[in-house]
């Protein structure tokens, strides 16, 4: 979230799209009801289903699953045509006036540089025009046809209300009503917040859906302000933390990235990431990349990381490609993966195309599961009748099932979607012989290390030199680990402007990432968390909930990254002269008297940079401004374009009916063997979307009696019209089939799943909740991911769980 849960109460308009906050995040959704109650805010819900969020909305509009870019692109077109944009904001804080390279182009759904064979782009033409001074060329008059504003206007002019309605199936008047409501928040003192979640990420073009929405928010001047923002409602309790800590194939802690094979030279690795400003006077905070990197390597490898060995740069594994979960299961299926460790993760239930996942797991030599609960994955080899029909005698995988503690039996911190790191305390001992995750990790790692020490082996250096300064080596304490990622000074750290001024003494915890150095004098396991455990103590455990400004910032409650900021980009809540756009919801403002930015939040800015200096609010971007034109950052194009889901009820993309290449996302990765697993609408005519219900959490709560009681049995939802056509009544059992598998479940026939008119064609939707499986207290059911396609978003490889095609029949 750019903003945070409580801040939603400051909004004037809430758009829930690509998510279902009331069901998936009820306690966070509370702040929507607060905004409605105390600010007379309105709530809009756009969703293929009339969800429980829609039940309390002021306005609901249906949409065909997977067509959100068309909807939002239409909204951009509306705002530009009707001039409903926050002029001062876009002119100063975005790349509106930046000039785009002459070579860049877009034709019939494909951007310049496409390689159809590789299904990827050469992005060299996707950039700004750079002047002789090394800075981007701009045209503040916005007259130049190559300026981002004009390019964008032209790009989205095709997204007319009629086209939106044709693609999305949303009635035109409903679409226009939402446009008009959103447009009102272009006023500088009005804010709209967008709340989204997996309903946007889980598409083959999910990242671009989110970008399109962010562009809407920028046009309206709603980023950085109280009650505004792009608010990703994260899933698991610490998925934010694990992402922050870089537990993904290609990341290092704090959104640093692993080197690729080609990056053999340490210096070029750093230089490529330490972006120089692209406009004069801008901060470009990533310039400090080296400080963050060296400090992480010092935390990991201690004295073994030296200037001489480039801080152990070569010890890091280098990427030949991404190894996301889909790629790994593809490799496993090909027999090139032998071992797999599932720590609190149930991929048999959670990953797409169960038949492929199950077959892949059976090819492993060993599987280790670490979990408090008995997961489906841990028993993938066991025959569970129709729900998991396998022959154990034919599966040669060695499986270990290690019992771990749950939240109530451990100390530690979690990062909420608001980016707040909160400490929690142990209340009881775990059941039986269960151990904490840290003890299990230590148990395995120290055994591996012992073997390498004793017998040697392949490249043991990083294993033998990994820092392990724990008072109880077999039980590293959360306090020790938290202090390690928060960071400490190895040598005295002084003020760069005044070497006599000591900022931190050697051996002390640092106060923030501003104190990190690239000379090996600081160690910090995750730079964005820096300062969460300083010499003042464990700031994550703070419990002062006072809110002196009354807009919900509570700066003394726990610790938010970065630097305890609660609203990101908050400099953009002020006009260029430093005055808040809405004084009633002041986040920060320039206080000329003290020469500092002050207010209810920590400024996301150089605290003493006066407005006259011209530094712009988006300090992480080398331009200092927000980008409408994504340059080379996205896989499928600098401007989001609507493509059909990989499986869609339409045979072509209504925007490019004649270009088959532009039907679905041209840059989405599809593994060779998977093309044949995609279905065609003649056999699978209905759109299917999978989702979560408020009564359950993923695949855990079927083990929980209370949840099993309030939502006991697997079901699928369908509209009354489809049910009538198929002779299905509520309570009947139906079979839902995709080209990859089937499930059988109870039918819930409802008015809440509308039949859509998509370009004159009737499109029915079938909704399938995900929560059931063959373990636990709830009634056993089929794994919903038996149905889903093995394809992901072109940028993140997030599987396309939200839009594919199926057929149904009564059983």
């Amino acid at each position: 979230m750019t903003n945070h849960w409580v801040d939603i109460k400051n909004t004037d308009l809430v758009l829930i799209m690509g998510g279902n906050a009331a069901e998936a995040h009820p306690c966070g959704f509370k702040w929507v009801t607060e905004a409605k109650a105390h600010r007379k805010a309105k709530l809009i819900v756009v969703d293929p289903r009339f969800t429980r969020s829609a039940a309390v909305a002021d306005f609901y509009a249906p949409i065909r699953a997977g067509t959100d870019i068309a909807f939002l692109g239409g909204l951009i077109n509306y705002l530009l045509i009707n001039d409903k944009i926050q002029h001062e904001y876009v002119k100063n804080y975005t790349d509106f006036s930046f000039l785009v390279k002459e070579e860049y182009g877009f034709e019939d759904g494909i951007f310049t540089g496409y390689n159809a064979e590789k299904r990827s782009y050469d992005k060299s033409t996707w950039g700004y025009q750079i002047g002789k001074d090394g800075f981007v060329l701009t045209d503040p008059s916005l007259e130049n046809p190559r300026c981002v504003y004009r390019m964008m206007k032209a790009h989205y002019s095709r997204y007319t209300p009629d086209m939106v309605s044709t693609i999305c199936g949303t009635p035109k008047d409903a679409f226009l009503k939402i446009c008009a409501m959103a447009a009102e928040t272009s006023a500088p003192n009005k804010a709209m917040t967008i709340m989204y979640a997996l309903g946007w990420t889980q598409h083959s073009q999910g990242t671009q859906m989110i970008r399109t929405a962010a562009m809407v928010q920028l046009l309206l001047g709603n980023i950085g302000v109280a009650g505004g923002g792009m608010n990703a409602l994260r899933g698991h309790s610490n998925i934010q933390g694990l992402t922050d800590l870089g537990l993904l194939s290609n990341l290092l802690p704090g959104y640093m990235t692993l080197p690729s094979d080609a990056e053999q030279d340490y210096k070029t690795y750093i230089e490529k990431r330490a972006f120089k400003p692209m406009r004069p006077g801008q901060m470009s905070y990533w310039q400090n990349y080296g400080k963050f990197f060296v400090s992480t390597m010092k935390a990991w490898y201690g004295d073994a990381a030296t200037a001489e060995n480039n801080w152990a740069y070569d010890w890091l594994p280098k990427l030949d490609k991404g190894y996301d979960i889909l790629q790994v299961f593809e490799n496993m299926n090909n027999g090139s993966v032998n071992g797999y460790i599932c720590q609190g993760f149930n991929p048999l239930a959670a990953a797409p195309c169960k038949v492929k996942v199950s077959g892949s797991l059976a090819k492993l030599k060993f599987l280790v599961t670490i979990d408090p609960l008995a997961t489906e994955t841990s028993e993938f080899w066991q025959n569970h009748g129709e729900y998991n029909d396998v022959d154990p005698t034919k599966i040669a995988t060695e499986v270990f099932r290690l019992p771990s503690t749950c939240f109530a039996e451990e100390d530690g911190s979690l990062v909420s979607s608001s980016r707040v790191l909160q400490w929690h305390w142990k209340a009881a001992e775990p059941p039986g012989d269960a151990l904490g995750d840290q003890e299990i990790l230590a148990g395995i790692f120290l055994k591996v290390r012992e073997l390498y020490k004793k017998d040697g082996g392949a490249f043991p250096d990083p294993i033998l030199n990994l820092t392990w300064k724990h008072r109880q080596p077999y039980s590293p304490s959360p306090e020790e680990l938290a202090k390690e990622f928060s960071g400490r000074a190895l040598k005295e750290v002084t003020d760069p402007k005044d070497a006599t001024k000591v900022l931190v003494k050697a051996g002390e915890q640092i106060n923030g990432f501003g104190e990190l150095r690239d000379d090996g004098s600081t160690a910090c396991g995750c730079w964005i968390f820096a300062g969460c455990w300083s010499e003042k103590g464990n700031l994550m455990a703070r419990r002062d909930n006072s809110d002196p400004y009354g807009i919900g910032q509570t700066l003394n409650w726990a610790f938010a990254w970065p630097a305890n900021r609660r609203i990101l980009y908050n400099r953009a809540s002020c006009d260029p002269s430093g005055k808040p756009y809405d004084p009633k919801r002041k986040v920060i403002g320039w206080d000329a008297g003290v020469g500092k930015w002050t207010g209810s939040d920590i400024p996301d800015f150089k605290a003493d940079s006066a407005p006259e200096e011209g530094m712009n609010p988006f300090i992480m971007n080398p331009e200092g401004v927000a980008r409408f034109f994504a340059i080379d950052k996205m896989a499928e194009g600098p401007f989001p374009e609507h493509y059909e889901p990989m499986e869609s009820p339409l045979l072509n993309n209504p925007l490019h009916p004649k270009n088959d290449q532009a039907r679905a996302n041209p840059a989405a990765r599809v593994f060779k063997g998977d093309w044949v697993t995609f279905g065609k609408p003649d056999k699978f005519p209905y759109v299917c979307t999978t989702y979560r219900l408020t009564e359950h959490f993923h695949f855990w709560t079927k083990h929980v009696k209370t949840s099993a009681i309030i939502q006991p049995e697997q079901f699928v939802e369908m509209g009354e019209e489809l049910a009538k056509e198929k002779g299905i009544k509520s309570g009947d059992h139906v079979r839902v089939k995709s080209n990859r598998g089937f499930i059988v479940a109870v039918a819930v026939v409802t008015k809440r799943v509308p039949t859509l008119n998509v370009g004159g064609k009737k499109v029915h939707t079938v909704g399938v909740p995900i929560h059931w499986g063959f373990m636990g207290l709830a009634k056993n059911g089929y794994i919903t991911n038996s149905l889903t396609p093995f394809v992901g978003d072109a940028n993140t490889q997030t599987p396309e769980f939200k839009a594919f095609i199926v057929n149904i029949e009564k059983v």
């Binding site: 009820p26 009564e695 009696k705 819930v748």
Partner: protein, 290 residues
């Protein structure tokens, strides 16, 4: 917990007044704002958890309603209704069903077991299972069809409004947990005041018939609803428009009770007086001998 006799306003099957009739205490109420309810069932779970109830893991009957009805283990359930009050505008009305804690409780009136049902001065109507004999009369007395008899111990159960929590100054479990603030708890006056604000807001949002459900037929209730369509409570899974204790129950447990008891007493007395005044009907001796 101390005996609560000073806090008792009425007691089932008790003909004398309770101590608390001497004065007034602050009345509490739970306000359920259906326009804010997202049907998440957190209240159901909180109720189960606090009161140590666990119903059967049931089945899906083609709806979101689970458990499908109130039971001795489910003291509150969400009832879902898809309606189109205005053509083309779908509304999903979700009502939390459970004991309404009537000011004039039909269950208490019908109950034959002394002290099995009590009404506290704060308005809570509570069942005391140790006194309950399991006759089920409370069910017939209730205008909202709430109490349920357990198949295991044969006693009647329903929402206590968490009388154990309220007794120590806390709010009921369902109220505390409600994520959207659709359930509030406080003095009845405050709840009515809050409801007025909500109704104004709903009217501004186009619900012309928004209103408070505090039916006078049962003397008002200590669980009230804010309804978007107060003119049609039936839309909310047949919430009764004008609930009152059934005339059959009133007749049976009202005037009939003392009159009939009196009549029976009178019959005994009549016999007694007849005997005293007229003497026995004996066959005269001469008839024996004849």
């Amino acid at each position: 917990m101390a005996l609560q006799s000073l806090d008792i306003k009425a007691r089932s099957a008790t003909t004398t007044p309770s101590p608390a009739v001497r004065g007034e205490a602050i009345k509490v109420a739970k306000l359920i704002d259906i326009s804010k309810c997202i049907g998440c069932k957190a209240c159901q779970v909180a109720c189960m958890e606090w009161n140590d109830l666990r119903d059967e893991v049931g089945t899906n009957a083609g709806t979101y309603d689970n458990p499908r009805d109130l039971t001795d283990q489910s003291w509150t359930v969400m009832r879902f209704a898809e309606v189109e009050v205005q053509a083309g505008k779908l509304e999903w009305l979700i009502r939390k069903d459970g004991c309404m804690h009537c000011a004039d409780p039909g269950c208490l009136k019908a109950c034959p077991a002394p002290g099995a049902i009590v009404q506290y001065t704060n308005g809570i109507v509570d069942f005391h299972e140790e006194n309950c004999i399991g006759c089920g009369y409370c069910i017939t007395g209730c205008p909202f069809n709430i109490p349920r008899i357990s198949k295991k111990d044969g006693k009647a159960y329903k929402c206590t409004l968490c009388s154990d929590r309220v007794a120590v100054g806390m709010e009921p479990a369902c109220v505390k947990t409600c994520p959207t603030g659709a359930i509030l708890f406080g003095s009845k006056d405050d709840m009515i005041h809050h409801a007025e604000g909500r109704i104004t807001d709903l009217k501004e949002r186009g619900y012309q018939n928004a209103g408070l459900y505090d039916p006078s037929g049962v003397g008002g209730t200590h669980v009230m609803y804010v309804l978007q369509h107060a003119d049609q409570p039936g839309l909310y899974n047949n919430l009764p428009k004008d609930p009152h204790i059934s005339p059959m129950v009133s007749l049976w447990k009202g005037v009939t009770k003392p009159l009939a008891s009196f009549a029976l007493g009178l019959a005994v007395f009549a016999g007694f007086f007849h005997y005293v005044t007229s003497g026995p009907n004996e066959v005269k001796d001469e008839e024996h001998t004849s």
